[in-house]
């Protein structure tokens, strides 16, 4: 398999064996009565990392965040921050701050008093507080709203107050619980980049909880994908998408086609997989699949080409089928192609040219094809 690097920054302490993790979850389990929210989970987060916990609701991502903040204590296991065990330290003594999903702005206080609240608890001098609050207001561009109460602000402004309040104390780690969940789509996209800039500017470690994969992919250095209280994969967005560790991850992030089959032969990185439908797939990303084992071959729709004539490429995997459905989405078109055995394969193609005659129509014969390096073999 070709190595997949981080596209964004040359920041990758996780691949440096000498780097010391900043936050460590060590075999952490959290039970609420009979319900196990987090199950024997281990995870390392590095200093200045933008780390995302991604998962569906109830996967335990919020519980992890709350344990880090100190609102819940692990049933067993340890959480270390900068080498120190956090057990028993109440939330008001932890050097982490949280931005709440509901923002939790104090309704009876003005914007500036909200931001100053944490500083006052520290016993900071009055002049210093004023200076810091002014800086924070400037940072989030809300200078003229200092005297307003939360209900006099729009959703986006409230979100920025919440952000300013949680970074005002210069915490070692900022926890963000669905920070953009309450904003509308357009505002969300703008704010994603603002958050990334802010993290760079302040040099903080961010741990963000989200159920929105696009959000996690855009912002995070690394993503931990959680399911039922367990980590399914921790990797960069590129790795998660292009080299998912399991069927669950492949299915959870983005669209995917999966072919069930057996490894017919394998050598070095490549393998041949024969599906139950008589199709044989050549792949160069066989991972650790051993010959004869049952596997799944996963491939993203945009990696599959659809054509009305049989492609000439001898290297490629080719299969014949029938156009079953066409979904025109504007930027691209998704074809659903039904193969001989009835499996429907999704293939998407970018509409790079404006108004072009689509040669394919419903019920046409069509060929799908993809290169041997286009998909991955999943053993789990």
């Amino acid at each position: 398999m070709k190595s997949l690097g981080s596209i964004r920054r040359s920041f990758a302490p996780w691949s440096d064996p000498a780097a010391k993790p900043y936050i460590v979850f060590e075999n952490v389990t959290k039970r609420f009565g009979d319900f196990t929210a987090v199950n024997d989970l281990s995870l390392s987060i590095f200093e200045r990392e933008f780390f995302a916990l991604l998962g569906a609701s109830g996967c335990g991502k919020s519980t992890l965040l709350r344990m880090l903040a100190g609102f819940d204590e692990p049933t067993s296991g340890r959480i270390l921050l900068d080498g120190q065990d956090l057990r028993g330290i109440p939330p008001y003594k932890r050097p982490v701050n949280m931005m709440f999903q509901s923002y939790a702005l104090f309704p009876h206080m003005t914007v500036e008093n909200n931001i100053a609240f944490g500083l006052k608890q520290e016993g900071m001098a009055k002049a210093d507080i004023e200076k810091r609050v002014a800086d924070m207001l400037k940072l989030v561009k809300l200078e003229q709203f200092a005297k307003r109460k939360p209900h006099q602000l729009s959703g986006g402004q409230r979100q920025r107050v919440a952000l300013a309040r949680s970074v005002a104390k210069r915490p070692k780690v900022l926890l963000l619980d669905e920070p953009l969940g309450a904003l509308d789509k357009k505002l969300r996209e703008e704010t994603q980049f603002e958050l990334m800039d802010l993290q760079q500017e302040l040099g903080l470690t961010f741990v963000v909880v989200t159920h929105d994969q696009e959000e996690a992919m855009t912002m995070a250095d690394r993503i931990a994908i959680l399911d039922k209280g367990e980590v399914m994969q921790v990797a960069t967005p590129t790795e998660v998408y292009e080299a998912p560790a399991s069927r669950f991850v492949a299915g959870f992030v983005g669209n995917v086609n999966m072919f069930e089959g057996k490894v017919a032969s394998r050598d070095a990185g490549s393998a041949r997989i024969s599906g139950g439908n008589g199709l044989t797939i050549k792949t160069e990303n066989a991972g650790d699949a051993s010959a004869g084992s049952d596997v799944v071959f996963a491939i993203r729709p945009e990696k599959i080409k659809v054509s009305s004539k049989k492609p000439a490429d001898a290297e490629a995997n080719v299969a014949e089928g029938e156009i079953y459905d066409i979904a025109y989405l504007g930027d691209m078109t998704v074809y659903h192609v039904r193969l001989a055995d009835g499996q429907v394969v999704k293939a998407s193609s970018l509409n790079a040219v404006r108004i072009s005659e689509d040669p394919l129509s419903w019920n046409d014969r069509a060929w799908i094809s993809f290169r041997p390096d286009a998909g991955v073999v999943l053993t789990r």
Partner: protein
């Protein structure tokens, strides 16, 4: 985990001066429970135990007017001897004298009839309020609550002037020629019904309104769309959905109405028998504390079931509120 537990297990480096603060936090959160708990134990539960004990005592011409007065003045054996003097005579007395039995029965009957009447009067009002334009509803709600803030006694008193033979109602009816003889309403059961319906109407309307207001009225439209005529849609959709409100409202009227004193005393006249009035008379006129205690114990037993239903409904509403 509670805040206290976290504070209590607070540890190591960050702790600093937390020893005292921790103890303070733990103490304060204990206090939150203990103070109201002890208050209610002493002023609510203990009094009931005393009532029960006195209901087993004998009347005496003394202060307090009953024996034995339990105490440890004569040591444990003396206390034991006092305990032996307790008896269920007062309860036997209640069964022997038909007056008490009749009073209980007529209390329940009067409260029951009044509850149904209150429901019949209150339901259309609550329904009309729930369907009023949203901007008008808060005002209507306030208008229902407002009389509740004015004195109960005053509201009952107001009816005396209206219902008495030369009162305003009779004046009006005689003047308009509807009747030619004044109606005798005051000092009858009818006056009690009017008094209870009037006084407790807000208690009925509020839970009904909150049940009806929550209801999605497009359900009715859906029912009608599916071929259900309006009257039948009411009985098949609206009413069943408002049952929690009906139950809460009926209990809130029925329970206090059974033990009501002011209304039967002022509007019902001397021949009306209701248990709250009987208890009052036993206590204030006859100064028979043991018998009035026994009357209270039986009244409480009578109300235990409706009170339990009410508590259960409260707890369930609270669960749903979470």
């Amino acid at each position: 985990m509670t805040d206290t537990a976290i504070a209590a297990s607070s540890a190591t480096e960050y702790a600093g001066r937390s020893g005292f603060a921790r103890a303070l936090n733990a103490f304060v959160s204990r206090l939150v429970i203990i103070v109201p708990y002890l208050w209610l134990l002493f002023f609510f539960l203990v009094p009931f135990i005393i009532v029960f004990k006195i209901s087993l005592s004998q009347t005496a011409i003394a202060m307090p007017p009953y024996i034995p007065v339990l105490g440890f003045g004569e040591g444990l054996s003396g206390f034991w001897a006092q305990l032996k003097q307790l008896s269920i005579d007062n309860y036997l007395w209640l069964t022997e004298d038909a007056l008490y039995f009749n009073a209980y029965v007529s209390s329940v009957v009067i409260a029951g009839i009044s509850t149904i009447l209150t429901l019949l009067v209150g339901y259309p009002i609550a329904y009309g309020m729930a369907r009023a334009p949203a901007t008008l509803r808060p005002t209507l709600l306030m208008l229902v609550i407002l009389p509740f803030w004015t004195s109960f006694l005053i509201r009952v008193y107001a009816w005396i002037g209206i219902l008495k033979p030369e009162g305003l109602l009779n004046q009006f009816l005689l003047a308009t020629g509807i009747i030619d003889q004044p109606l005798i309403i005051l000092n009858t059961h009818t006056a009690i019904f009017i008094g209870i319906v009037y006084s407790y109407l807000p208690f009925m309307i509020l839970p009904l309104y909150s049940a009806l207001e929550k209801m999605d009225f497009s359900l009715i439209e859906a029912a009608q769309d599916l071929g259900c005529p309006p009257i039948s849609a009411f009985w098949k959709i609206t009413f069943p959905l408002s049952i929690p409100g009906v139950v809460a409202g009926c209990l809130l009227v029925f329970i206090p109405a059974v033990g009501e004193f002011v209304i039967p005393d002022l509007l019902g006249g001397s021949q009306t028998l209701m248990i709250g009035k009987t208890l009052w008379n036993e206590f204030f006129a006859n100064r028979d504390w043991p018998v009035s205690s026994a009357v209270a114990v039986i009244l409480l037993l009578l109300l235990v079931i409706p009170i339990m239903i009410f508590q259960h409904a409260q707890a369930r509403a609270q669960e749903q509120g979470r």
